[in-house]
């Protein structure tokens, strides 16, 4: 079996001067090429999970880390964030704070990361073109980043990460500030990336979206993992229903008193409602 992409072993983490740990007792193993959705209510520790995998916690935030976070075979304590950035990318919620703020054209912005990595100019050009194509912003190449809409800007931020050729992509609610069209565009790009073998860990609170896209879901509550498995498995557990909520299809099936396992996706839902109850 090949090396896992992300491994958390008994991880606990408290921010600097915080009285409690933001996450505790995290054990998680994500294989290369998986697409894992992470969900849970506010303060569940979803973002902290991303920051830990990236190494920003503890390298950027200080604080106390227990246990071991290993990404692509290297423990997070042993590698700086800027070194980690060669293989791992993190997309934040807010598209505006993610642009470097130092470049006047979209294509120059995409080139920022590869330049920091010392990639050769010809190679940078190729990667920038490819990344802009992939997220569908090639037509905006000569625009000023700040002239873009929120959705375009988030795609730019994603292209900027893709130009660095990450093996693992962490996404912290990447579409929470986007309109439906922008959201659909981002998810389409992600589906393509998943097909090409990139490992994706995505925090998302829209459960329907998660179930539609991710073969595996991690549900978190107050800093701990509550359930981890295939969507249907996770959302058919009582405790998840109570503390995280359910996708709309599962909720409908539940109120219609359909028997478990209840559907989590639209397609299954249609089937479930058509099947006569035996």
């Amino acid at each position: 079996m090949s090396e896992p992409a992300v491994v958390f072993e008994d991880v606990g983490y408290a921010y600097e001067e915080a009285p409690h740990e933001a996450v505790s007792d995290i054990n998680l193993r994500i294989e290369a090429g998986e697409w894992v959705g992470v969900t849970g209510p506010t303060n569940a520790g979803k973002s902290t999970l991303c920051l830990l995998a990236m190494g920003l916690a503890p390298h950027f935030f200080g604080g106390k880390l227990r246990g071991k976070v290993t990404v692509l075979g290297t423990e997070s304590r042993a590698i700086k964030v800027i070194e980690r950035s060669t293989d791992v990318g993190l997309l934040f919620q807010n598209p505006f704070t993610q642009i470097s703020g130092a470049r006047e054209r979209v294509h120059e912005e995409v080139a920022f990361g590869p330049e920091c990595h010392g990639v050769a100019p010809a190679e940078i050009e190729a990667r920038v073109g490819e990344a802009m194509d992939l997220v569908g912003i090639s037509a905006l190449a000569a625009r000023h980043p700040l002239d873009l809409s929120g959705g375009q800007l988030q795609r730019l931020a994603l292209a900027s990460l893709l130009a660095m050729r990450p093996k693992v992509l962490l996404l912290d609610e990447p579409t929470s500030q986007l309109d439906p069209a922008g959201t659909a565009a981002i998810f389409e790009v992600l589906s393509g990336l998943h097909q090409s073998g990139i490992t994706i860990v995505m925090v998302e609170h829209r459960l329907e979206t998660l179930c539609e896209l991710c073969p595996r879901i991690v549900a978190m509550v107050t800093g701990r993992i509550l359930a981890d498995g295939a969507p249907q498995e996770v959302f058919n557990r009582e405790v998840v229903q109570e503390r995280v909520g359910l996708p709309v299809y599962t909720r409908l099936a539940r109120s219609a008193a359909l028997p478990a396992p209840r559907p989590v996706r639209l397609s299954e839902s249609a089937k479930a409602f058509r099947t006569p109850i035996a």
Binding site: S85, S100, P114, H117, I124, L146, S160
Partner: protein, 259 residues
């Protein structure tokens, strides 16, 4: 708003095409020389060279527009104060009642004003013909740290955004009844309510931006990639050295009694 701060004007003149470092060295040397040379004639000679270059660069009209607004009040203040009160004053030029105006002060003020004019014109000439991004790129190719390059490029983008936001906050606060006109104490009291929201909102983004930069490898100790090359030539290299050496040479000449 994009690049709203830069004075750069597209063009294809000799100055536009020159290496940014050549222009930079020229600007600094010419300014230094304007303050080192001993007499009015030398300063006028420098001013004449600058004027020719301004015409060559095709920026005369714009230069007059920006430089005049800056220089006129300074020249007036200098001429008024020095002609009236300078320790060297003794030849009366004219007198209006008790106010006596002297020739020496006028001459001294004129020289000072001309020197400042050279400084202003040389700097604007540089700004009109050089893209800010080219300045930082050229400096980084000569060893300026990428961090400092980032600071300058980023500041050039953030300043116009912040000024935009200042305008919006001013409108918003005024519509909530903040008095931004009237007596001086009233206007002064409006300062803090205008500044606070502005500063807080611009500071809040820094943390996320710093994280985002690290995620993109900003600060990795790699050999920096040249984003593009500037055309350079032997003539330009010689010019740079000659200009740079002219400054200490002029200082030595002054010390040896050049008048």
């Amino acid at each position: 708003m994009a690049g709203g701060l830069s004075l750069y004007q597209e063009g294809a003149s000799l100055l536009h095409r020159a290496h940014p470092l050549t222009k930079g060295v020229f600007t600094l040397s010419v300014i230094a020389l304007a303050f080192i040379v001993p007499s009015l004639y030398w300063i006028l000679a420098i001013a004449l060279i600058l004027l020719i270059l301004v015409i060559v660069a095709g920026v005369l009209r714009r230069l007059i527009a920006v430089a005049l607004a800056l220089l006129l009040p300074i020249a007036v203040l200098l001429l008024a104060v020095q002609g009236f009160a300078n320790p060297a004053n003794h030849t009366v030029l004219f007198a209006i009642g008790p106010v006596v105006y002297y020739t020496e002060g006028l001459y001294i003020a004129a020289i000072a004003a001309l020197r400042i004019t050279c400084l202003v014109v040389a700097t604007f000439l540089f700004s009109f013909t050089t893209r800010p991004a080219d300045i930082t790129e050229a400096l980084m190719q000569r060893g300026l740290s990428p961090a400092m390059g980032y600071v300058v490029q980023s500041a050039l983008q953030i300043i116009p955004q912040t000024l935009d936001m200042a305008g919006r906050i001013q409108d918003a606060q005024r519509s909530r009844g903040l008095e931004t006109e009237g007596s001086l104490p009233k206007r002064a009291r409006a300062y803090l309510p205008l500044m606070l929201p502005l500063v807080l909102s611009s500071l809040v983004a820094t943390q996320e931006r710093a994280m985002a930069l690290e995620v993109r490898g900003f600060g990795l100790p790699v050999k920096r990639v040249r984003r593009y090359e500037f055309a350079d030539s032997a003539v330009q290299r010689v010019t740079r050295w000659a200009l740079a050496l002219a400054v200490p040479a002029a200082i030595v000449a002054r010390l040896l009694g050049w008048k």
